[in-house]
C-alpha cells in the first residue's frame, strides 16, 4: 500500500467534438448555408453567454479519450504504455502530469512529477543555447541551482559546446533536438513521465538517449514511458499497460503485454475488413533468428475453395520484404476447402533471420471468385538476439531487414 505512488481509479476524460453536417448533404444550397451559419452564430453566442466552450460545426458529440481506467503503479516501476494512435496514451499522460483534469474518476500521486511530453518545450528561438538551458530547465521543474550544477554535463551530453552563445534559431535541427533532450535527460524527479520523445535525432544519439533513459529507470525512479518503439519499451520497462480506444485492456509483465498487443492489434485492424487474419503466433514474441509459427485463419468468406495463398511480410515502412508461397507445397495443400466454419493454415519457420523490430503480415489470396491482397492482417514484434560472442550489434535501422547466417573464408595480406 505504502509503495503505490500512482493510483488511478475509474479515470475518464471527455472531449466535445463538433461535426459539420454539411459533409453529408449532396447539394449545397445558399439557403442552407445561410441557415447553418445563423444557427452556428446563435449557438456560439449562447454558449459564450453561458460560459461554455465554443465548438465549431453544428453537431456536437461527446468523445471519451479515456474511459474507466484504473491501475496502480508502485515505486521504482518502469512502465511502458502502448497502444495504437488515438488509444488514449497521451491523454493519460496529460492527466497524470496535471496539464488537464480528468472528467471522471481520480488519481493519487505521491512525489514530485516531471513530465516530458515534447522535446524542447518552451525553447525560445531568439535565446542562446545557454539561456535556453536555464529556461527549459525551469519549465521542466528544475531549480536554478540544480541546472547550474548539471550545466556542464548537459552541454557535454548535447555536444553543443561551440554554439552555447548562438541563438538556437541558428542551430541545425539535430543540434536543437540534442540540446533539448539533454536538458530533459538530466531531470531527477521521483516520477518521470515521458511521451514518445526518443524518436528524435540520429541513430547514434537515439542510442545515447536510450542509455540515459536506462540509467534513469535503473536509478529506482518511477518512469511512465509511451512509445511506439517496441524495442525501447521491451528494453526499458518491466511493466506494460496496453490501451485501446481509451480503455486499459491489459496490464502486466511487459513481454506478455507486448505480445498481447501484437495480436490484439491485428484483430482490431482486421475486423470486418478482411476475411483472413493471423490468429496465432508461436512464440508470441520471437527472437531474431529464432523459430516462428504463424496461423492464418479464414473466416466468413463466401468462397468455398482457396486456390492460391501466400503469407507476406512487410517492414514497418510498408516495404514488402518476404513471401511464403503455399503453391510451392503444390497439390499437398492447395486447393484448400474452406467450408462454413472457416479453416486455418499454420506456417512454420525454423529460423527467421529478421532484424529486431516490428513487422506486419499480409496475405495474397486467390479464391474461386477473385484474387485479393490483404494488408496488415497481423503484427509481430521480433526481439533482439542475445549475442553469444558479446558483439554489440549496430542499431536496428542500420542493419536492414535481414541478418544473414553465413560462413566465412578469408586470406590475409602478406
Amino acid at each position: 500500500m505504502s509503495d503505490v505512488v500512482i493510483r488511478a481509479d475509474g479515470l475518464g476524460k471527455k472531449y466535445l467534438i463538433g461535426h459539420q453536417s454539411a459533409a453529408r448533404e449532396r447539394y449545397t444550397a445558399l439557403r442552407d448555408v445561410v441557415g447553418r451559419q445563423m444557427r452556428g452564430f446563435i449557438r456560439s453566442a449562447r454558449d459564450m453567454a453561458l460560459g461554455r466552450q465554443i465548438i465549431s460545426g453544428d453537431e456536437v458529440e461527446e468523445f471519451w479519450a479515456l474511459k474507466g481506467v484504473s491501475f496502480e503503479i508502485t515505486r521504482g516501476e518502469v512502465v511502458g504504455i502502448i497502444g495504437r494512435n488515438g488509444a488514449g496514451k497521451s491523454t493519460l499522460l496529460k492527466v497524470l502530469s496535471r496539464i488537464t483534469e480528468p472528467s471522471t474518476g481520480r488519481v493519487e500521486i505521491k512525489g514530485r512529477v516531471a513530465s516530458l511530453l515534447e522535446v524542447g518545450t518552451g525553447f525560445h528561438p531568439e535565446l542562446t543555447g545557454r539561456e535556453n538551458i536555464y529556461l527549459n530547465g525551469a519549465i521542466l521543474g528544475m531549480s536554478r541551482a540544480e541546472i547550474r550544477r548539471k550545466f556542464d554535463e548537459i552541454v557535454a551530453f548535447a555536444e553543443v559546446e561551440k554554439f552555447l552563445d548562438t541563438p538556437v534559431k541558428r542551430y541545425s535541427s539535430g543540434m536543437y533536438v540534442r540540446l533539448a533532450f539533454a536538458v530533459a535527460a538530466h531531470l531527477e524527479p521521483e516520477i518521470l513521465i515521458v511521451d514518445e520523445v526518443l524518436a528524435v535525432g540520429d541513430a547514434e544519439f537515439q542510442k545515447k538517449c536510450l542509455g540515459k533513459m536506462q540509467d534513469v529507470a535503473g536509478g529506482g525512479r518511477t518512469v511512465l514511458f509511451v512509445s511506439h518503439n517496441m524495442g525501447a519499451v521491451r528494453q526499458l520497462c518491466s511493466t506494460g499497460l496496453h490501451f485501446a480506444n481509451g480503455a486499459l485492456i491489459q496490464k502486466g509483465n511487459v513481454s506478455k503485454v507486448l505480445s498481447g498487443y501484437a495480436l490484439q492489434d491485428a484483430d482490431v485492424s482486421v475486423r470486418g475488413a478482411s476475411p483472413i487474419s493471423v490468429t496465432r503466433l508461436e512464440p508470441l514474441a520471437p527472437e531474431s533468428g529464432g523459430a516462428l509459427s504463424v496461423r492464418l485463419s479464414l473466416n466468413g468468406t463466401k468462397c468455398e475453395e482457396v486456390r492460391e495463398l501466400a503469407l507476406l511480410l512487410y517492414a514497418a515502412n510498408g516495404t514488402r520484404i518476404a513471401i511464403a508461397d503455399l503453391r510451392t507445397r503444390g497439390g499437398l495443400v492447395l486447393p484448400l476447402r474452406v467450408g462454413p466454419s472457416g479453416c486455418f493454415v499454420d506456417f512454420h519457420f525454423p529460423s527467421l533471420p529478421l532484424v529486431e523490430g516490428e513487422y506486419s503480415f499480409g496475405a495474397y489470396l486467390v479464391d474461386s471468385e477473385a484474387a485479393s491482397d490483404c494488408l496488415d492482417i497481423g503484427r509481430v514484434y521480433i526481439t533482439p538476439k542475445v549475442s553469444a560472442v558479446g558483439v554489440v550489434p549496430y542499431s536496428s535501422t542500420a542493419r536492414g531487414f535481414l541478418e544473414l547466417e553465413f560462413g566465412v573464408n578469408y586470406a590475409e595480406g602478406a
Binding site: Y15, I99, S103, G105, T121, G122, H124, E126, I139, A145
Partner: protein, 282 residues
C-alpha cells in the same frame, strides 16, 4: 531541488474533476523560479535583434510627452497642477498609464502566446500573466530615470510624498492584473477578446487624465469619472511626484480602489475557475 524534493516526497496530489488544488498559493510560491525565468525571458527577448534596443523604451514616452504637452498644454491651454511644469505633470500621468496599459496588453495575450507551454507542462497558470508584469516594470524603471532627468532640467524637486510611490506602483499593477487575468482567461476560450484590448487602450488614453490634470474635470462629474481605476492611480502618482502641487480627490480615490479590488477579485476567481481547462482549449 533534491533537498526540497525529499521533504516533499510524501506529498500526495489528488487529481479529480472539479477539484480545486489545495495549497494553490503555496504551489505558486514553489514556482517562483519559473516566474523569474519567464519574466527574464520576456525582457531578454524583447530587445534581441533590435538595432537601438533600449532606446525604444526611451523614445515612446518622450514623444508622447512632447505631443501631449503641445496639444493639451499649448493648444488646448488646459491648466497644470499648481505650479508644476506641464511636461512633468504629463510625464507623471503617463508613467502609470503606460504601466497599466502594457501590463494589460501583455498579460491578456500571455496565455495564448504561451500555448505550447500550457499544453505540455504543468505549473500554476497564474505565473504566465504575472511574469509579463515584470517587463512592464522594467520599462517603468526606464521611464522613472527619464522623469528624474526631466525634473533636473526644470529644476523641480519632489517632496516627501515620493516615499509612497512604490505603493502606487503596486496599485497600478494590481489594477491592471485584475482585468488582465479575466481577459486572458476569456481569451483562451473565446478569441474575440483579443480585439477588445486595443479598444480599451485607445479609448483609455483619452478617457484617463494622462495629458491633462484630473482637476480639469467639473466637480459634479468627478466621482463618476473616478470609476475608471486609472484615474485614482494617476492622481496618486501626481500626488507623489509633484509634491504639494497636486491634490488627491479622496472620494474618487477610494472609489478607484474599490473598483480595482473588485476587478482583481473577479479576475482571480474567474482565472482560477477556468485554469484547469486551459490545456483543453488553448
Amino acid at each position: 531541488m533534491s533537498r526540497a524534493g525529499a521533504a516533499e516526497q510524501e506529498r500526495v496530489v489528488i487529481l479529480e474533476a472539479g477539484r480545486a488544488t489545495r495549497n494553490y498559493w503555496r504551489d505558486l510560491w514553489h514556482y517562483r523560479e519559473l516566474f523569474a525565468i519567464l519574466a527574464w525571458r520576456d525582457v531578454a527577448v524583447r530587445y534581441k535583434q533590435t538595432v537601438i534596443g533600449l532606446a525604444w523604451a526611451l523614445l515612446r514616452p518622450f514623444l508622447t510627452m512632447v505631443i501631449f504637452t503641445v496639444i493639451f498644454g499649448r493648444i488646448a491651454k488646459l491648466p497644470a497642477d499648481g505650479t508644476a511644469p506641464y511636461p512633468i505633470m504629463v510625464f507623471a500621468g503617463m508613467m502609470p498609464w503606460f504601466l497599466f496599459s502594457s501590463v494589460l496588453t501583455e498579460a491578456s495575450g500571455s496565455l495564448i502566446g504561451n500555448a505550447n507551454l500550457i499544453s505540455k507542462v504543468y505549473f500554476p497558470r497564474l505565473v504566465v500573466p504575472a511574469a509579463t508584469a515584470v517587463v512592464a516594470l522594467v520599462d517603468f524603471g526606464v521611464n522613472f530615470v527619464m522623469l528624474a532627468l526631466l525634473m533636473a532640467w526644470y529644476g523641480f524637486l519632489p517632496n516627501w510624498h515620493l516615499m509612497f510611490l512604490p505603493a502606487f506602483v503596486a496599485l497600478a499593477i494590481l489594477a491592471s492584473l485584475g482585468p488582465a487575468l479575466w481577459i486572458t482567461a476569456l481569451n483562451v476560450k473565446y478569441r474575440d477578446f483579443r480585439y477588445v484590448i486595443p479598444f480599451i487602450m485607445q479609448f483609455g488614453l483619452y478617457v484617463s487624465p494622462v495629458g491633462f490634470s484630473s482637476a480639469a474635470i467639473p466637480d459634479q462629474w468627478r466621482l463618476l469619472y473616478s470609476l475608471n481605476p486609472v484615474v485614482g492611480i494617476i492622481d496618486g502618482f501626481r500626488w507623489c511626484l509633484l509634491g504639494g502641487e497636486s491634490q488627491i480627490y479622496w472620494p474618487g480615490f477610494v472609489l478607484s480602489l474599490g473598483v480595482t479590488a473588485s476587478f482583481l477579485w473577479f479576475g482571480i476567481r474567474y482565472f482560477r475557475a477556468t485554469e484547469r481547462t486551459f490545456a483543453d482549449m488553448v
